[in-house]
Amino acid sequence: MTCLLCQRSLTTKLTLTWLLSWQPVARPVVCAACWQQFQPIALATACPQCGRAQPQRQVCRDCQRWDPQPAFHNVALFTYNEAMQAYFQHYKFQGDYRLRAVFQPVLQQRLTQLTADRVVVIPVTAATIGTRGFNQVTGWLGTGINDGILTVTKTVAQSQKDRQARLATQQPFGLVPGIELAGQRIVLVDDVYTTGRTMRHAAQLILENGANSVTGLTLAR
């Protein structure tokens, strides 16, 4: 076995830092050195609205600019740092589907800790499915490509826009006909919370269709 990220051979020796990290003990796929490059967000002090890492718990500056939406908040697992950026470069943009295994355990574990009547995944466009062949989020969750709840119209990738342009985009999502959301508590999963525009579009649609609450869950913030 070699580390999925640096290709160095994996020793099975378990260090204390490893045991204290979130990585489950069973079958590690990345080495301790690579894993330590990722920065977990401390829940206790994170922004209560977007999940961003902060020195103390308070609504962050970005979130103060949004209209209040009491039925929505986001939880994020890691800070979007250089290591995370490199990870997304290889997993999402280069399309190395093997790398889904890096965050599968932590993401699935966190999902079980959230109360949900239904898990909804932010979908990828048909064009992306045609070339990339997978949805990066369902890759972690191990559930098909899109989960058949939300649809998405063709949009320019968020990563290719600046903040202003991203904030101005129209609602790109629709609900698959026949899906019943009334009164439900929804967990909405995406890869990164950057401006929050994508997440909030989807949350708004879900709430408009009668859901009780939406908890966002993103790998990075």
Binding site: H90, Q94, G95, D96, Y97, R98, A127, G130, T131, R132, G133, F134, T138, G144, I145
Partner: protein, 450 residues
């Protein structure tokens, strides 16, 4: 997109490129998938079914991802090489070849013309690039498409300007992973062997320099790349100073023709390796002392001012060895350097300008970095980091000047490893051939210049 961008290439295309697809484009699947096997058509890797799996029964190649992902979702596009080269570039190089080099060059040109697969075993410092010129010039005159490739980027970076200068009338295309300039269709290309994966039946002549720069595992992809980048009837020439067992096996089977250039440009033989068995060398040095033999050698250097390189297996040993030497010989100036050393260029420059008498290093400094007239010492030559090829290359650092064409190559080692024995054997073999060639050359009636 222009047809030229696809001549002899195999590429995946973006939606925008597909919208302007020229006529005559062929496409084929990037992966061949059968019930028992999945193979990447670009890099040749046989893929593990489960690892290569995408949703919906699609697959991708995880072995050549950094060239853009090959998958069952998108085909590879290609236009057969038409050799659309209106100009016939001439050789503008005006240097001279030695008699031995000229004979070898003629041999290579004949091999190109005969569409052969050929291995040239040329000792380090033989001047093999210049020997290529006549054959390459001939091939370019035929309107052939030619590439010179190497597994090592630094070799490509060094070759490109020399080939550009030798064929000043044409533009040489340079392709490697650190390159940002866009691809252009050219008659003469210098590239890494990795970049060859983007070509298909493109070259009439394909030269692979320093083919043994990497261990065999990495070489399987290399051979696949070479076989597919060259035209089915094209000529392939492998150049090496230290052929691997695998290459030599191919020559014995008759799949490759072998020729030698056993003499260095100054007609001298390779220095032979002297091995001294000192199993405890490291435990002595680590205490800040020097083994008696080593002390004696270094004292001679301190007296004579003779310059030298010391190779050690690991970076963390550099400072320890330097401390021990400085304690004994405080007036002798030296530096330590390793490949990722931020001050590497500076230190190499100091050695070149003779501001320091010695360098302690872990790495064969890049090609082209030669210090005329030096001796070489390898400490821990039995360490697995020193492969046969590495040891021969290390020895080849010695005797590279006309003024001092010989020199000492000393290995300090715990035992005679296979790699050491093979390095000694390779040097002995080329020197035997060199002696014979020197004899033959001296009896030739005329001296022919290029």
């Amino acid at each position: 997109m222009q047809p030229k961008d696809l001549y002899g290439r195999q590429l995946m295309l973006t939606a925008t490129e597909l919208a302007t697809l020229p006529a005559g484009v062929q496409s084929r699947p990037g992966l061949t998938i059968t019930a028992t096997q999945i193979q990447c058509q670009r890099c040749g890797s046989i893929l593990d079914r489960q690892t290569a799996q995408l949703p919906k029964n699609q697959f991708y190649c995880y072995q050549c991802l950094n060239l853009g992902r090959v998958s069952s979702l998108t085909p590879l596009y290609h236009i057969p090489e038409p050799n659309e080269f209106p100009q016939r570039p001439k050789l503008t190089w005006t240097g001279h070849l030695t008699v031995a080099q000229a004979a070898c060059a003629a041999d290579l040109q004949r091999a190109f013309a005969a569409h052969e697969r050929h291995l040239l075993w040329a000792v380090t410092g033989a001047g093999k690039t210049e020997m290529l010129f006549p054959g390459l010039a001939w091939a370019l005159q035929q309107g052939w498409r030619v590439a010179v490739a190497s597994p090592r980027v630094d070799v490509c970076l060094e070759l490109a300007p020399r080939l550009q200068a030798a064929f000043a009338g044409t533009t040489v295309a340079v392709l490697h992973g650190r390159q940002t300039a866009p691809y252009t269709y050219r008659q003469l290309t210098v590239c890494t062997t990795h970049q060859l994966l983007r070509f298909r039946a493109a070259f009439d002549v394909l030269v692979i320099d320093e083919v043994d720069a990497f261990p065999f595992a990495a070489n399987q992809q290399l051979y696949y790349a070479v076989d597919h980048a060259v035209k089915p009837n094209g000529a392939v020439l492998y150049l090496t100073a230290t052929p691997s067992a695998a290459l030599l096996r191919q020559t014995r089977r008759g799949q490759l023709k072998l020729s030698y250039l056993p003499l260095r440009f100054h007609q001298h033989l390779l220095p032979t390796i002297q091995v001294t068995l000192l199993p405890k060398w490291w435990s002595v040095i680590v205490k800040g002392r020097l083994p008696a033999k080593l002390r004696r050698w270094l004292r001679a250097y301190a007296t004579s001012g003779q310059r030298f390189l010391i190779f050690v297996p690991r970076i963390d040993q550099l400072a320890v060895v330097q401390a021990a030497i400085q304690r004994q010989f405080p007036t002798m100036r030296g530096q330590t350097v390793y490949s990722a050393d931020p001050q590497r260029l500076d230190k190499v420059q100091q050695m070149r300008q003779e501001q320091v008498q010695y360098l302690i290093t872990t790495t064969i400094l890049e090609r082209g970095v030669t210090f005329p007239g030096i001796d070489v010492l390898v400490l821990g030559a039995d360490d697995p980091v020193f492969s046969t090829a590495a040891l021969v290359q290390v020895a080849g650092r010695v005797g590279r000047s006309q003024q001092r064409p010989t020199g000492l190559v000393r290995f300090v080692s715990g035992s005679y490893t296979r790699a050491i024995k093979q390095a000694q054997r390779q040097i002995k073999l080329v020197n035997r051939k060199g002696r014979r060639l020197r004899h033959d050359v001296s009896t030739l009636p005329t001296v022919t210049d290029n």
